[in-house]
Amino acid sequence: MIPELGQLALILALLMATLQCVLPLLGAWRGNATLMAVARPAAAGQAVFVALAFGVLAYAFLSFDFSVAYVADNANLALPWYYRFVAVWGAHEGSLLLWILLLNVWTVAFAAFSRHLPEPFAARALGVLGFISVGFLLFILLTSNPFTRLLPMPADGADLNPLLQDPGMISHPPMLYMGYVGFSIAFAIAIASLLGGEMDNAWVRWARPWTNVAWGFLTLGIVVGSWWAYAELGWGGWWFWDPVENASFMPWLVGAALIHAQAVTEKRGTLRAWTLLLAIFAFALSLLGTFLVRSGVLTSVHAFASDPRRGIFILGFLTAVVGGSLLIYSLRAPKVAAGKAFATLSRETLILVANLMFAACAAMVLLGTLYPLIGDALGLGRISVGPPYFGFLFMLLMAPALFLLPFGPFARWGRADAGELGRVLRIVALAAAVLGGTLGFLAWRGSHEFRALLGAVATVWVLSGVVLYARKRWHEAPAGRRYPAELAGMLLAHTGVGVFLAGALLTTALSVERDVRLAPGESVRVGAYDFRFDGVQEIKGPNWLAQQGTVSVFDHGAPVTVLHPQKRTYTRGQVQTEAAIRPGAVRDLYVALGEPLGSGGAWALRVYDKPFVRWIWSGGLLMMLGGFLAAADRRFRAQRAPQPAPAVTSAPAESAA
């Protein structure tokens, strides 16, 4: 009975979503205040029903209701309660339900905080959000119903994919989806302003904190996913250019570009059409990302089952959203007014160049990700695009943006002071050459990898620019107004870029990875450490049996740590490697069990020394914090009434760019 309530709740939510989509858009078109007023109550009602459906599914998991097919497929009696709860979004149907739940969270937040906006504008934006909701609810109800019954009811269920039984799984999808779905707000605001022709700067000011928060969540989701892959997949890699990683990375790139473009549009009124286009693409790529993962058109770790009806629905919905919004854009964007002119050497130009690089990078990733599909359609054979394609072009395309990063904050809007930029160039170049060169040489001596040198130089280049600008503010701005949240967020995020660079390039250059065969008592030297294999014993978990190895690590004879990598066999027979990691600020020591080799207790082991690998995720977390901090700036909240024209731009230094 209870699962049917969930089904009913979804149907009611669909009705509410339809109301939320149709009536306010109609009202805004006709100037009918009554119809526009439907938007908020309909959004609230839809949220209640979606939350109810989600709650019902969670309850079905927690109470072992195996008469629900989705529960029976993804949980069993031995699964601990927290993994049963996580299993709600462990497969296709439930993850869509999570998506729609988060869309409702964002919609309700938008409805609550948008009361001071002009009514037609808010009504249009909520209508657009309603349209997205209708699409997803229809998709769930027509092709992916999580409440389908399974008769006769099995005595016990299957199991959650063991890859997903990890703390990372608890937070990875919700964070990623918070980011994906968050771009729907920027999208809705962009479409609403195109529909209404109200393309003044107010909507951009209004969209900025939403974009920043969404991007922050997306960053967090990607960081958690990367860390999860590192700890859980047992290969010690942190990024694989897997289609699904790419799917989350494309909106991230466009989102990063959008954050900067919105800053320009808000402050100067320029690049409006470009900002609108980026808002559309950020969300379109989020949708594509969700569907690429779910549709199974691409082969990847994450792809769930596939069903041709799903593919067709997805294609239709994507076409409607992307095609529709681009149509509106092409009709309305030519009417967008131009903003203030800017010189060739100005902050606008720097941001524009970086923006183009980000967009080109997203296009490059899109091409590489979809190329196997294109190749298949053109009959070129079954092709896959190797990771070096992405790695090589990514470094190449991001290099100009990194080169410009130290100068961005120093460059004035409109026309930059060439003398000041020249001074910054000299200092930053000197710091990068001397400090970066020295550190890089020390790192390079150990590995003879040019990327170690490159990593140190690039990191110092970026960080010295950030420090230099922080120092300038400290000297020139009055106390208390030195680092407003928006500016501090920018500095923090740019620091994150530097830290990430150090992590990514140094880890790639300096890691030592050895696959070895070890009998109990034998040692192997990896980097500066000796790893001694002390054999394997059997241990038992709630729903798995494991071979647990013991590996003692020594640094020149002094014991460092003892690691316990596992090879687990889950109830359904799936085998899963659990790596053992000694984390550290400067290096991780990483051991994973391969397979038993013959008699005598010998095993194949992966033994890794991974310097600076934590810096990769620390950098990502700093970028995320920067996004959140910038969104908290009082400037975005202070103006209660919508401004017909923006207040005169603040001093150039005051903006995050």
């Binding site: 190329y371 695009v385 070096p388 397979e595 013959g598």
Partner: protein
Amino acid sequence: MNPTRKRRMTLVLLIVAAVGIAAALTVYALQQNMNYLLTPSQVLSGQGADYKTFRLGGMVKSGSLQRDAHSLRVDFAVTDGDHDLPVEYTGILPDLFRENQAVIATGHMDGGRFVATEVLAKHDENYMPKELAEAMGKAHAKHHVGAAAQEPTP
């Protein structure tokens, strides 16, 4: 030409040049990193000779797996039902590597042997990679090598 036009001209030329360079680099990088998936029959008919590296897909032939006693080297044969190809690999095989199961190996031909640098096994007991299933479509029909369905590889 007036100064504004001149500046615009320069800008347009710069953009065209940048797009051209970017497109050329992308095409080059794509060509360098495209891996074709071939079955043993296709390799034995000579198709593998065209590529520096490619991916070999098929089933691990039953009884063909041999481990070296002192190193991580393994030898096995990959079959598509019609033909077998010997494969050598040094390293740790994935968790789901089994005889009579689907496998995709990346590597190159060395004489009559395929030297693999990476071996991926299917991720679930019921599925095999979609692309592999298609590549082996005929073999499937003839030899009943397993159910074809969409599948994730790592």
